[in-house]
Every structure is written in structure tokens, then in C-alpha cells.
């Protein structure tokens, strides 16, 4: 089957979903009102609450939610054949992610622009808020470990990408300085920065002395490293230590100094990346060589598919962005449909191209099956295959393969690095908030909280039992990351359902995806925690067992709370404006 056709089918479904389903939800369920005074107008303070044009707000929302995760998840899930991944991405986006992202936005707009955590406190109680904090804490912990591993992995496999990525740091600081102190416009400086990065990428791809290849310095893959580890493991260790030192510094700096200017450059990279991939797809029109459905997988797709692809189908992280920043800037309530639902569609489009890049990369089905031999192997090769597949698509618009590989890996590393920086920062805030809640003043200190965040993330990514040796803890935690993310989405959907019920509306649009998600999450965690990670399981691992068990218990707790809150009778319906 042709890759263009697959993309086209996906786009048509997204378009129909936006045109009809989101219209139905907006008019009949959320009942958006163009005359409602949004928090952006009511609390306009010129800082957090600012009415913003809907296209601009969408652009900002989309660049905040799009990252490395919608690329990595689908690249792994293609293991079960491209059709299951494709179907879950399009159906998930239309019926789950759209409703979720759009719903959290509408819910927050009707609740003074408060975040989902605060709304949970109000609708369910203080325990719900704490549970929320714990789940986000676990989620960001996973994000730190997974993305640290992703970056280290790409640095080792594509040494030409190291220099351009590190050049981005001083360039970003320069842009931040120019914009902040000199009040310069940011478009030109950030395009210049991007040009410098890509020029460096071209040179680094062609000249070996510009490639920072730690494995080669230690005498190749068979060489001896430090502490009795092999060369590859030592390279992982070194990169992860460097990354952790970097995020420690980056996440304690003010955001305008490094994080934001790097985001400007990354927004260009997102546009460039999507343009290259879709143009390459149009010019090359590759065949889908991966099997439609993998006939003999070693692990069943049910329920693993639904937690392997989180971002790109539905992701709880989006609810945090929707209710955290976007809801405070919505000009008209009716804009929520475009910003929220179309934001989810944007993420779906990114996931779609990831599936196509991987599924068209192989010469034939046998080559695919020889690479994706098992689910564990799929976790290990997914990212590399995406980089190779994307580079192959880029060749369609005459970009040489070696340069395309470097650029694609730079894009993925940049996304992952920003996510890492943000999530360490977020983890620091949550640790501090828990410190306040439980009266432990010492962990509310910036450097103490950051140290806890960095050390625990390093410990997780460096667990020795990784399937590909030292430093590959990231492979193991991917399913946990998906689960925590889905669980968060489950709570947000539950809040939407409770809110709709108390307004006396039909809440099935939120309840059905919620039940589906909670069931898949619990099923997957039960299977992995008891049959795989427990002491009598096939792959015993105490750390994963504990983390998985915590998530499992949380999931049950949420399900019970949802049940009791939804079956409870309320004497009077919720006031419309509360």
C-alpha cells in the first residue's frame, strides 16, 4: 500500500473528526458560548491572563505538546504491524485525545482558568489533588529517565549530531539575551541560530573529526571502558552524567535564559521536520513494507498497544498544558474547539508520519521482521528505525542520507532535551509542593528539590537490568511512561465527566474513553507487574515492580473514586459559572 494513501486516509479521518465530531461536542455537550467572559478577559493582568488570537494560541499550544514522545511510541508500536498503530492513532485522536484536550480546556475556562489539579481538589477533594501530584511525579520521573536514555542513545549512534546539539545551547542563550535585554525581535535571530546548527550538522556529517564518538575513543564497541564496563556502556554512563549535570543547571536557570529561546529554535525544527517528512513522502511515494498485521508477535497487542502509543493517540500531559497555560489565554470560549481539538489533531499528524517513516523504511516484510523480532527488540530499535526511515523520506527532496540522518537525530534530541528540561523543572515544583503539603520544609528548597529530581531520574535510567546492558533502563520504563500518561488522561476525563454530569449533560463522550483507558491501563499493569516484574515473574525487577504496583493501585483508586462520584446524587446541579 502506498504511504501517501495511508497519510491521506489519516488526514481525511482527522478532518471529518474535526468537522463533525468536535462540532457536535462543542455545541451539544460542552455548549460553548461565544458571549461567555473567559478568564483571559475577566482576570486580564497582561501576564498570565491575556486574550490571544486563536491561531496564535493554537501555535503555542501545539509546540508545547508536540515532542519526542509521539515519534517514539508509534515507532515502537509498528511492531504489531502498521495497521493497529494507525487505527489507534486516528481513532484515539478523534474520539479520545480530541475530547480530552478540548474538554480540559473548556473545563478550565469555566473554572477561572484553574489547572486540572486544583479542579480535582474542588470536584473530588484534597486526596484527589495529592493523588494527582503523585501521578504527575511518577510521570515526570519516567520522562526524565526515558528521554535521558533517548538522547544518550542518539549521541552514541549518530555522533555527528553531538556538536550541533551542543552549539544550540550558546545560541539559545544569545537569543534569550538579545530578546530580553536588547528587545530584539526573535524571528531573525532564531532562524540564524537554526541555520548555524544545520550548517554544523552538514560539516559534522562529512568530517569525522567533528563527530564526538565516545565509543570510538575507547577503541570501538569491543573496547574496554571505565569501571570494568564495556565501551558502549561507559559511553552511556558518561552521556547520562553530562545530561544530568546539564539539566540540573538548565532547570534552575530563569526560563527566559535558556529554555524559552531553545523552544523558539525547536518550533522552527518542528515546522522544518514536518515539512521535510511530508514533502519527502509526496515526492517519493514509498510503499508500506512493514506487515499490515504482525502474525506472530511474542507479546499480544492487547493491552500493550494502548500504552505504547500514549502521545499521538491520547496523552494526559496535554491536559496539563490545556488547563495550565492555554485556558488562561483563550479569547472566546468557542475558540476552545479549534485550539484544543485541533491541537490534538496536530499531535496525531506527527504520530502518523512516524508510523509511515518506520513502515516504509524496510526493503520488504522479511527485512522488517528480521529487525523487529520481539517486543523488547522493538523497544530497542524503534527510535533508530524512525531516524533511518525519516532520513529515507528526506532523500525524496534531495537531502543526502548521512546529512538527513544527522538532522533528524538533532530534531529528536532537541525535542527530548526541552522535554527533559521542562520535566525536571516540573518535578522540582511538585517535590516542593509535596514538601509544603506534608510539612517537610527542607525539600521545598530549589537546589534540594532539583537534586532529588536529578538523582532519582539518574538512578532509574541507570538500572543495571536494562535489556541492552548498562544505561538502557529507558527501554524498560517506556510501558510505565505510557501507563502513567494514560492514567493522568483518565483522571482528567473523569473530571470532565463529573463536571458534565453535574451540569446535567450527556457525559458519555468523556466516560467511554475514560473507561477504555482505565481498563487498558489496569490490564497492562496487572500483566506486567505480576507476571513479569514480580519476584516470581519472568523478568523479576524490584524497582519496576514497585513503580508498576504504585501505578496499579492508583488506577484502582481512581476507578473507585470515579464510580462513587459518578453514582452520587447531587441535590442541586453545579452552578454554570463555578
Amino acid at each position: 500500500m502506498s504511504g501517501i494513501l495511508v497519510a491521506l486516509v489519516g488526514m481525511v479521518v482527522f478532518a471529518l473528526g474535526y468537522r463533525y465530531y468536535s462540532k457536535f461536542v462543542a455545541e451539544k455537550i460542552y455548549r460553548l458560548d461565544p458571549n461567555y467572559v473567559t478568564p483571559a478577559h475577566r482576570y486580564n493582568d497582561g501576564v498570565d491572563f491575556v486574550p490571544t488570537n486563536k491561531f496564535v494560541l493554537w501555535g503555542h499550544h501545539f509546540t508545547s505538546v508536540a515532542g519526542a514522545a509521539p515519534i517514539l511510541g508509534p515507532a515502537i508500536a509498528v511492531y504489531w504491524g502498521w495497521l493497529p498503530a494507525f487505527l489507534w492513532v486516528i481513532i484515539g485522536t478523534v474520539f479520545a485525545a480530541g475530547v480530552h484536550d478540548f474538554g480540559t480546556l473548556a473545563l478550565s475556562v469555566r473554572n477561572k482558568g484553574q489547572s486540572v489539579g486544583t479542579i480535582a481538589d474542588k470536584l473530588i477533594g484534597n486526596r484527589a489533588k495529592l493523588l494527582f501530584l503523585f501521578i504527575i511525579l511518577i510521570l515526570v520521573l519516567m520522562v526524565n529517565a526515558v528521554f535521558a536514555w533517548v538522547i544518550a542513545n542518539l549521541f552514541i549512534n549518530y555522533p555527528a549530531s553531538v556538536l550541533p546539539v551542543f552549539i544550540q545551547i550558546p545560541l539559545a542563550i544569545w537569543i534569550g539575551y538579545a530578546a530580553y535585554k536588547r528587545k530584539m525581535k526573535m524571528l531573525i535571530p532564531s532562524i540564524i541560530a537554526l541555520a548555524i546548527m544545520y550548517l554544523t550538522a552538514i560539516f559534522a556529517s562529512r568530517f569525522e573529526f567533528l563527530q564526538i564518538n565516545l565509543v570510538q575513543y575507547m577503541g570501538g564497541a569491543d573496547g574496554a571502558g571505565l569501571f570494568g564496563l564495556g565501551a558502549v556502556s561507559t559511553a552511556f554512563l558518561i552521556w547520562i552524567v553530562i545530561l544530568m549535570v546539564y539539566v540540573y543547571i538548565a532547570s534552575t536557570l530563569p526560563v527566559w535564559k535558556l529554555l524559552q529561546p531553545r523552544d523558539f529554535i525547536n518550533s522552527h525544527q518542528l515546522v522544518v521536520g514536518l515539512a521535510i517528512l511530508y514533502l519527502g513522502l509526496i515526492f517519493l511515494n514509498p510503499e508500506m513494507t512493514a506487515p499490515l498485521v504482525n502474525e506472530n508477535p511474542d507479546r499480544n497487542w492487547l493491552p500493550l498497544l494502548f500504552i505504547t502509543i500514549a502521545c499521538g493517540a491520547i496523552s494526559g500531559f496535554h491536559g496539563l498544558v490545556s488547563s495550565g497555560t492555554t485556558s488562561k489565554q483563550l479569547d472566546k470560549e468557542t475558540d476552545a474547539r479549534f485550539v484544543g481539538y485541533f491541537g490534538a489533531v496536530g499531535e496525531g499528524i506527527l504520530a502518523l508520519v512516524s508510523i509511515i517513516a518506520v513502515a516504509t523504511f524496510f526493503a520488504n516484510t522479511d527485512a522488517f521482521l528480521a529487525t523487529y523480532t520481539s517486543f523488547t527488540q522493538a523497544n530497542a530499535v524503534g527510535l533508530g528505525t524512525f531516524v533511518e526511515g525519516a532520513a529515507k523520506l528526506a532523500e525524496g527532496i534531495a537531502i543526502p542520507a548521512d546529512i538527513a540522518r544527522t538532522i533528524v537525530s538533532i530534531i529528536v534530541v532537541s525535542f527530548a532535551a526541552t522535554t527533559l528540561d521542562t520535566s525536571v523543572r516540573l518535578m522540582r515544583y511538585i517535590i516542593a509542593e509535596l514538601g509544603v503539603e506534608y510539612n517537610v520544609p527542607v525539600i521545598t528548597k530549589k537546589h534540594v528539590a532539583t537534586s532529588i529530581a536529578v538523582v532519582s531520574s539518574s538512578a532509574l535510567v541507570l538500572i543495571p537490568e536494562g535489556p541492552n546492558g548498562f544505561g538502557s533502563g529507558g527501554y524498560l520504563i517506556w510501558p510505565l511512561f505510557g501507563t502513567a500518561n494514560q492514567l493522568l488522561a483518565g483522571i482528567s476525563l473523569m473530571l470532565i465527566a463529573i463536571w458534565l454530569k453535574r451540569l446535567g449533560r450527556n457525559y458519555a463522550v468523556a466516560l467511554i474513553p475514560m473507561i477504555f483507558l482505565m481498563f487498558m491501563t489496569m490490564y497492562a499493569m496487572f500483566q506486567q507487574v505480576f507476571f513479569e516484574w514480580s519476584w516470581f515473574g519472568s523478568n523479576s525487577n524490584t524497582l519496576l515492580f514497585v513503580l508498576g504496583a504504585i501505578i496499579f493501585v492508583f488506577a484502582i483508586w481512581i476507578a473507585l473514586t470515579a464510580f462513587s462520584t459518578l453514582t452520587k446524587k447531587y441535590d442541586e446541579p453545579l452552578d454554570k459559572d463555578n
Binding site: 501576564v47 490571544t52 488570537n53 503555542h60 524571528l187 524559552q260 529561546p261 523558539f264
Partner: protein, 85 residues
């Protein structure tokens, strides 16, 4: 065509600079908040020699003062002399 392109660039620029403008506004607001605290330093026990004169600003800043004490986490006006709420 050129007009459309200009519009597109302006849109792109705005998307990029939105969060940045917000951060700058936040920094400015923090400086303003700090300045206000200096003006009314008796609240935290530091004697203020110009208190008498700052009172003259009262009618001009009553609304901003209200926002300020809310931002500082105080539900009601911390000063008995200024009753904004």
C-alpha cells in the same frame, strides 16, 4: 501574495514571542511588586520614613493594590488604613 506572506510571518513571529512576552511581563510585575513592598514596608516591620507621602498615591493605586495583595497571597488588605476589600 506578498501581503499574505507578510501576514504569515507576522503570525509566526507572534506564536514564537508569546511565551517570551509573558515572561518579560512577569519579571516587570515582580519588580513592581517589590517596589510596592518598599513603599509600604511597615507591613513587614521596616519603618518607612515616606509613609505619609505614599499615602497620597492611595486614590491612584487602590485597584492595583488590591490585585497586588491577592497575588502576595493575602485574602484581605494587610493594611488597616487601606480598605480595598
Amino acid at each position: 501574495m506578498l501581503e499574505k506572506l507578510k501576514q504569515l510571518i507576522a503570525f509566526y513571529e507572534e506564536v514564537l514571542s508569546m511565551p517570551h512576552r509573558q515572561e518579560i511581563a512577569r519579571e516587570l510585575r515582580n519588580e513592581d511588586d517589590f517596589f510596592l513592598l518598599l513603599l509600604y514596608s511597615e507591613m513587614i516591620g521596616i519603618p518607612n520614613p515616606v509613609y505619609y507621602y505614599t499615602l497620597e498615591l492611595y486614590p491612584y493605586m487602590i485597584e492595583r493594590f488590591h490585585d497586588w495583595h491577592l497575588r502576595m497571597g493575602m485574602e484581605k488588605s494587610p493594611m488597616t488604613g487601606i480598605r480595598c476589600c
